[in-house]
């Protein structure tokens, strides 16, 4: 059996007083993809943030669970959510360059930027970019991070048809290199052989 990239057990999510879902167990092997679906407010974003380590799993003692949910990653991961995390007043090129410096590799982003259709926008301040262009810019940041695994929260929002196809191609490439991709989206995403979890099937 191959080593798992992500193992998560006993995940419960509580927002405020409401228990959103749980218990949820996840197991992803290299090259696998997971599509999280469900209506608004079901906890897709919360689960993504939980998997990214930004939100602590809830310990549901009264539900018969005794242990804190555990999440174990094998390798590094990148997160894209609704915020691009790029300085709005900086030109796109400089905003991306900050993350390149921070991630410590000088590898040029030329080719990804070319594919994402951003090469001609490098001098434009991020705040002047359209919704779809900001999404593409955030993807460029994710690619530049060179993480093994991707966590994408609604990556297709605001993208045109070409953009959607591009995201699907990028996901396929990430998987081909042995990474895993987790997507939260209410839109259909073409990911051959991907697991799908509908959070409605895991009610608390």
């Amino acid at each position: 059996m191959q080593a798992a990239c992500l193992v998560a057990w006993e995940l419960y999510c509580r927002r405020g007083d409401r228990l959103l879902f749980g218990p949820l167990d996840l197991w992803l092997e290299p090259g696998e993809a997971l599509h999280l679906t469900g209506p608004n407010g079901i906890g897709k974003t919360s689960l993504i943030r939980m998997l990214a380590g930004l939100l602590r799993p809830f310990v549901a003692y009264d539900m018969g669970s005794s242990a804190m949910g555990s999440i174990t990653w094998q390798g590094s991961f990148a997160l894209q959510d609704e915020r691009p995390a790029l300085d709005p007043h900086l030109p796109l090129g400089q905003a991306l360059a900050f993350w390149q410096r921070l991630d410590g590799h000088a590898a040029p982003l030329d080719r990804p930027l070319e594919r994402l259709g951003l090469s001609h926008l490098l001098d434009v301040p991020v705040r002047y970019l359209s919704t779809g262009q900001k999404k593409r810019a955030a993807l460029a940041r994710v690619i530049g991070q060179r993480a093994d695994h991707w966590l994408l929260d609604e990556p297709l929002n605001g993208l045109d048809r070409d953009g959607v196809a591009l995201v699907e191609a990028l996901i396929a490439e990430r998987r081909a290199e042995g990474g895993t991709v987790i997507i939260a989206s209410h839109q259909p995403v073409v990911m051959p052989g991907a697991k799908t979890i509908d959070l409605r099937d895991h009610p608390a």
Partner: protein, 217 residues
């Protein structure tokens, strides 16, 4: 280490040169207070010289409050802190870097402007020396306090006004020792200002780091 260097570079370009204000507004505010004071109390040179040091201290404290809303909150809203967290960069080290950048953006500029303020208020050389040394040891504490309070109030409605109100009482020890060193002879007041500053600097990264993690919810 290179990560912290990249963070410092970004913080400096934002706070010292960039779009989040820069030192111009605090410096102008500081000068305005120093200019208004003689108008308010009248042209009594002795009175001005006696109270001028204290006025400079109060003006410096108020000027340090001006940039508080831009220190932490914009980066939380942009999702920067989340991205740093999943790269394993601790909030504590980010805050430490930001305190340094924040201090550089108002501490040295205020010390330079104090020369002008001292001339406006007619301070003598000895008082000016004490004001300058006092600001040198006191403003790092003010920077630490400012970043901590900015982290605590980030995301709250009316956070900016609240931040100002929170900083003022907490900065009172710095003010008492810093301005007090002018009235009392000797350098003990300056030493105590430095001590308060160091305590604030030691606590700030942990308090602000915990506040930022808590705000993530």
């Amino acid at each position: 280490m290179s990560q912290l260097a990249a963070l410092l570079r970004r913080d400096l370009s934002l706070l010292l040169l960039g779009r989040r204000g820069g030192p111009v507004l605090p410096v102008l505010f500081f000068l305005a207070v120093a200019m208004l004071f003689p108008f308010a109390v009248g042209p009594d040179a002795q009175l001005l010289a006696r109270t001028g040091g204290g006025v400079i201290w109060v003006a410096a404290l108020l000027a340090a409050i001006l940039p508080l809303d831009r220190l932490i909150e914009p980066d939380i809203e942009l999702g920067m802190f989340d991205q740093w967290a999943l790269r394993g960069i601790s909030e504590e080290s980010i805050v430490a870097v930001r305190i340094l950048a924040h201090w550089l953006s108002f501490g040295p500029p205020l010390m330079l402007t104090s020369l002008i303020a001292a001339a406006l208020l007619g301070l003598d050389g000895e008082s000016l020396r004490k004001v300058e040394i006092g600001l040198l040891v006191g403003t790092p504490g003010l920077a630490a306090l400012g970043v901590t309070v900015a982290a605590l109030t980030a995301g709250l409605r009316g956070g900016t006004a609240l931040a100002g109100l929170l900083v003022i009482p907490l900065a009172v020890p710095l003010l008492i020792f810093g301005a007090g060193s002018l009235a009392v002879g000797g350098d003990s007041g300056l030493a105590l200002t430095g001590a308060v500053s160091l305590v604030l600097l030691a606590i700030a990264p942990f308090a602000a780091g915990a506040a930022i993690r808590g705000a993530r919810g």
